[in-house]
Symmetry: C2
Subunit: 313 residues, 2 copies
């Protein structure tokens, strides 16, 4: 083994290979029937156990241990999803954006890496108006990030956030959120590019909005159908996979109406599992796309496999 | 809702947005202590149920259903792993390569996408000498793909495949595999760049080879340690995650000694779970890196989360 030891020693002395430190581009593509869906990573976040409600620290510890979470906080992603129907480019949610201070949003970079430009986007469908879903609509200068897109928000969500009365009622530190939604809406309204709708509407062919209220007043999910395949974009119906899949009765601090949010999640997930739908989540680990199956009191998450995009017949 | 319907109809008529069809680059990076590990996708494959042994069709169906496999074959990946110690670039396995006919190997492309060149690789550690692990060592012209690398193979594996006596004993259709190993070894031997070792050896600082015989005569796993973190590169100790994690007593047709392969898997996985090691598999869904925990008669796979590379202290 003399030659081996010599090799090791020589390599210790002579070698120099700088660590790269960069991650692969944050996009992931799959076909749903004849429609292309691209998951876009906006950022990586983590949740502390204290965001979880209707549970106990002991149960959370047990569930997080089972999911292999060794750190004090659970890793999560901020995802948006781009739909290319072959005719139109439709973006579901927009991430945090860089307009609101210190956040570092990578949505536009990953959109470009995936081969598209922001100006090509025809429509933006919002699940709700929290900052990590609508923030990406404006750039640092307060201008539209998607200058050719029409933005869609459910009427209930729109009316809640744009109500001067509601903004006046909340605690001062929450007023910023209302002001942010107002500024974003105004930037698009100026170009007649801000639309509201009633859930139940087919906004585009084979793309239907459905009410999934609870997390917010007008939280909306979107169901895309093509061929025999369907994918449900569930927005913030789930935040912490490790806890809320096995125990969907666990809520989060951000839920405006936690009881309704829990009912919505359980009913929606039961249907997604029963009908074998694909599911895409805004905060599930990137790319956040997979299927679920019912097990015990909850569900098991089955993420998609990375591989070539299967286009064509 | 008039404006909405109009919008939809206009978009149907006017829009045109070609489907991209490409996937994101197949590399994924994480730090293990101060060492950078990059998973590299060589290709995407699928396994038919018939490759599984020591089981029944009914059990496989049950296990595949639980894993959400809706197709007749289970998707899998061919992964290789690049270690950058800061001093040396060490590649574990090399994928199928393009030298042997129809296979389409993307290892070198993904290596470049990840920021490295084939000529920079200092060493290649092989888990065993099957074609989808050693094929990438030669290019289409039969020349070395890694002209500055020294290749390491366990002595048992080397002696089995390079034995003229063994090659003469096998059925004619298997002789090609022996000839391929001989050709690959010869190309590196010519430059004194083909080394054998006894498992148990620390081939490089903090990088140790360990015998994991069974799948082949001299199948080897590699344990990398840095700081308080460790990652075990398990090669072909597992092929079908859906079946062999929950039931590690299920073997595969490719196992030369299936009983020993099963014993090896169970002992190795028990240790990886107990010691909370990271684990990297050649055929687990890309990037093929995660942790496992013991549950019931087997193990649960907990893949890593996509996110920024955490370098530094």
């Amino acid at each position: 083994m003399m030659s081996l030891c010599l090799f090791s020693m020589v390599s210790m002395v002579w070698g120099s290979s700088p660590i790269k430190g960069n991650q692969a581009p944050g996009f992931f593509r799959l076909m749903v029937g004849e429609v292309e869906v691209t998951a876009l990573l906006d950022g990586s976040i983590s949740f502390e156990p204290a965001i979880l409600r209707n549970t106990t620290p002991l149960l959370i510890k047990m569930l997080w241990d089972r999911a292999g979470i060794l750190s004090a906080e659970a890793p999560a992603s901020v995802n948006a999803f781009l739909i290319n129907t072959g005719k139109k480019l439709i973006l579901i949610d927009t991430g945090n954006g860089n307009g609101s201070g210190s956040e570092s949003s990578s949505l536009l970079e990953n959109l470009r890496e995936s081969g598209y430009q922001a100006a090509e986007i025809d429509a933006v469908l919002l699940t709700h108006a929290h900052g990590d879903h609508i923030g990406g609509l404006l750039n640092r200068n307060g201008e539209r990030s998607f200058p050719n897109a029409v933005v869609f928000l459910s009427r209930a969500e729109n009316d809640f956030w744009l109500s001067a009365e509601n903004a006046a009622k909340v605690r001062p530190e929450k007023r910023k959120s209302f002001a942010r939604v107002r500024a974003i809406a105004a930037a698009y309204q100026k170009f007649d590019a801000w639309k509201t709708f009633e859930p139940g509407t087919e906004l585009f062919p084979d793309l239907k909005a459905e009410a999934a209220y609870g997390h917010t007043i007008g939280h909306t999910v979107y169901l895309l159908s093509s061929g025999r395949q369907e994918i449900m974009f569930v927005g913030d119906c789930i935040h912490n996979a490790a806890a809320q899949f096995p125990r969907p009765s666990i809520g989060v601090r951000f839920d405006v109406d936690i009881t309704r949010a829990i009912e919505t999640r359980i009913a929606l997930f039961a249907r997604i599992a029963r009908e074998h739908l694909l599911m895409a989540g805004a905060h599930l680990a990137f790319p956040g796309i997979g299927r679920i199956r019912a097990e015990g009191r909850g569900f098991v998450w089955l993420p998609v496999t990375f591989g070539p995009v299967k286009t064509g017949k």
